[in-house]
Amino acid sequence: MSAGAGAGGAGPGAGAPPGRIHDLAVIGAGVVGSAIARELSGYRLDVALLEARGDVGDGTSKANTALLHTGYDTTPGSLESRLVRQGYRLLGDYAGRSGIPVERTGALLVAWSEEELRALPALRQKALDNGSENCEPVDAAEVYRRLPSLGGGALGGLTVPGESIICTWTTSLAYATEARMRGVELLLDHRVEGADVSAASTTLRTSAGAVRARFVVNAAGLNADLIDTLFGQQRFTVTPRRGELIVFDKLARALVGEIILPVPTRMGKGVLIAPTVYGNVMLGPTAQEIADRQATGTSQQGLRQLMAKGAALMPTLLREEVTATYAGLRAKIDSDDFLIETDPVQRYTRVGGIRSTGLTASMAIAEHVRDQLADAGLELAERDDLPDPPRMPNLGESFPRPYQEAERIASDPAYGRIVCFCERVTAGEIRDAYTSVIPPADIGGLRRRTRAMNGRCQGFFCGADVQALHDSRGSLST
């Protein structure tokens, strides 16, 4: 069942009435900003969620590797380590309540050299220090028993049973949807261009008018350092680190029973192979530091590098067709940890350096920010009138999808009309997306809400029909 019509708050994109002062403005409706807005709207607060783009989760959040991390390899004692571990439990639980698809696949970390093999005991110790107590070393024979399609040369491995896969799109959307249902004002297409901090409130000058709030949270991701400067601060610099990924055909899914991790290096977690909740296989990401914060295109070099890596990791994977390629930018900063600080004088919280683990940590980050805001003087009075969490449309293959549900089709034949053949997306689901609390702004938004056009044909069969449904905002008369 899809989320019902929104309750409270003005529609997305509506400007604030003049003179209105929100209790809190959150800048950035990515997965972190949306989680923060959702969390704080659980209290008697007037919250605004500002987003520069036309949709939620449309920046770097949409290109996450979509792993639900245990945090086994984070730096013990770091903020990241604590929030990832907390977030893992919180999001895992929330996913079950809101219908965010999660698959508990587990992971196998594979050593390909003597050096990597020697690094495994230390990694296991690190996992223990991070509270992951069930990681076990395995020999090469066991590696190949678990992953018969793995390329030659694996010397051993370490199991990480808790690592899981999740839908990053549904996560951002669920938080933002629940925030809206709790009355948060979602201000899309509001790019923050200036901030005037006065004694009682801060005026954010945006591309769509001024927004005033007593407290401000900067969860602007890749642009968080730029927002920081608007507050006269310069606590960090974001250096985008591009990660390119290749998504393989669903027919490859049987090759990959669990997440296949490399031994991490200084440059990041390395290139992994993972199943996706949509039933595909993902290879990536690369790691390349770049200057352009908008360079979300793929590169010839990056794709070649990935294919070469894939050929070594799993030669049979490359026999299957590529379904999609994309690039995401990690908001890397000049610090090895999450940077979450609140300035009580400016009533301003910066949330910086949230890398790919931010998806897992999102709800814990939100609680952490909540506590900092309370310490800075934001009054938190719990609400007793909260709606139930939304039930998000299921995009995952391990849960029933509308085209498989006889009763659902019987009650509404639109769920039996498959529009996108490759991903089996029905006209009913597309219609629902447009009547949902936060409808898609463009085809990209529709793809993230339904999977339409995300399949192997990339629109060869359904592209024109999906475009027509987008133009009619999901109306089925076409």
Binding site: L251, T296, E321, A324, I409, R456, Q458
Partner: protein, 433 residues
Amino acid sequence: MTGVRELSTDVLIIGGGPAGLSAAAALAPRLDGEVVVIEREPAGGGIPRHCDHLGFGVRDLRTFVSGPAYARRLESAALQAGARIRVGSMVTGWTERRAAEVTSPDGLERISARAIILATGARERPRTARLVAGDRPAGVYTTGQLQDLVHLHHRSPGERAVVVGAELVSWSAALTLRQAGCRGVLMTSEHERPEVYRALSTGGRLALRVALQTRTRVAEIIGRGRVQAVELERIDTRARRRVACDTVVFTGDWIPDAELARMARLQTDPETLGPLIDTAQATSASGVFAIGNLVHPADTADVAALDGRAVATAVLAHLKGGGKLPGHAEHDPPTGPELLPGANLRWITPGALRPGTPAPGGRLSCRPRRDILLPVVTVSQGGSIITRRRLPWPASPGRVYRIPFSSLSGIDPAGPAVTIDLDRADRRRARSR
């Protein structure tokens, strides 16, 4: 699962394009039983339905009509023959006993059949699968999507287009773009020459005012929101140049839409990953046949239609022989030698000889790896050359090449595997013969 209707039929044809509809039209009058075609699109006819230009029906109907007219004729022929065509219904998988799981607005069904014909066709390899780098702006299409937009939804594609590929379908894309008011069209091909007969490409270029650049690949797509340009790279010199455009159409480079064949665990061709068939178009599973561009991605629609006609005999024989239920005993008829592609071919189909059964349409279909202006077909078996024969038409990697089935006449049907290859004619030897 509750609410799933269990149905059974005699022949279930999956895919209502030229191959499936022609199979239905050929089978229904000759069969004392039911023929059902399942088509996921809202109308039958397959890809020709979207190709609003002349050129269809030459080999099968001895006519020359537009794609939509051809699609309608095939559909009404199948209906008149007594077949049932169910549109808007999609086979999404198989039960363990190889009954088809079907979703439609009427609900869920499991349809079991005494014989199954897979005619699911082919699709063009999209930009992503070609690993073309760059942004992901709007305005990047395959021919299929473009023609759907223009002919079925009456939308205009853009002003300046780059068409990637110079196959038959690429000209179809160029034609569509011109019809839709697109002013400039640049066509690029990685190969040395346009991948259709020269006469057509010269004529096509003149008539359509299409510029053509060979030995060129698209290295990158530029533009956020909407395509602004492509970066073209000369394959031989690596020289790059940027061409402004608002539309990019990736054409041809066909791959079989073989998901259902793969899900049914049929043996596959190692190159196309489509189902392997013998000359009777039977797959590795008894009672399951595969026809059309699913097995030779992608030949013209009329050739696919001829496959459909030809399969009727084998299907009837299977049914008459008390044909075991699909999916039970594998390989019920003994097959002859494998037919394997030589070094200059990417694939060849059928992949095995069924003794006594000629290949559909009297041809073997293959995909050459390179241009061969004066090809010679070599058939060898067990290490010795059985036949060498000049063929009168040139071979190109951009289209399916047809080799007369009679080239196999000297082989031993009980012998080992047969290899078929194409080579450049040795001019001296050719002259002395």
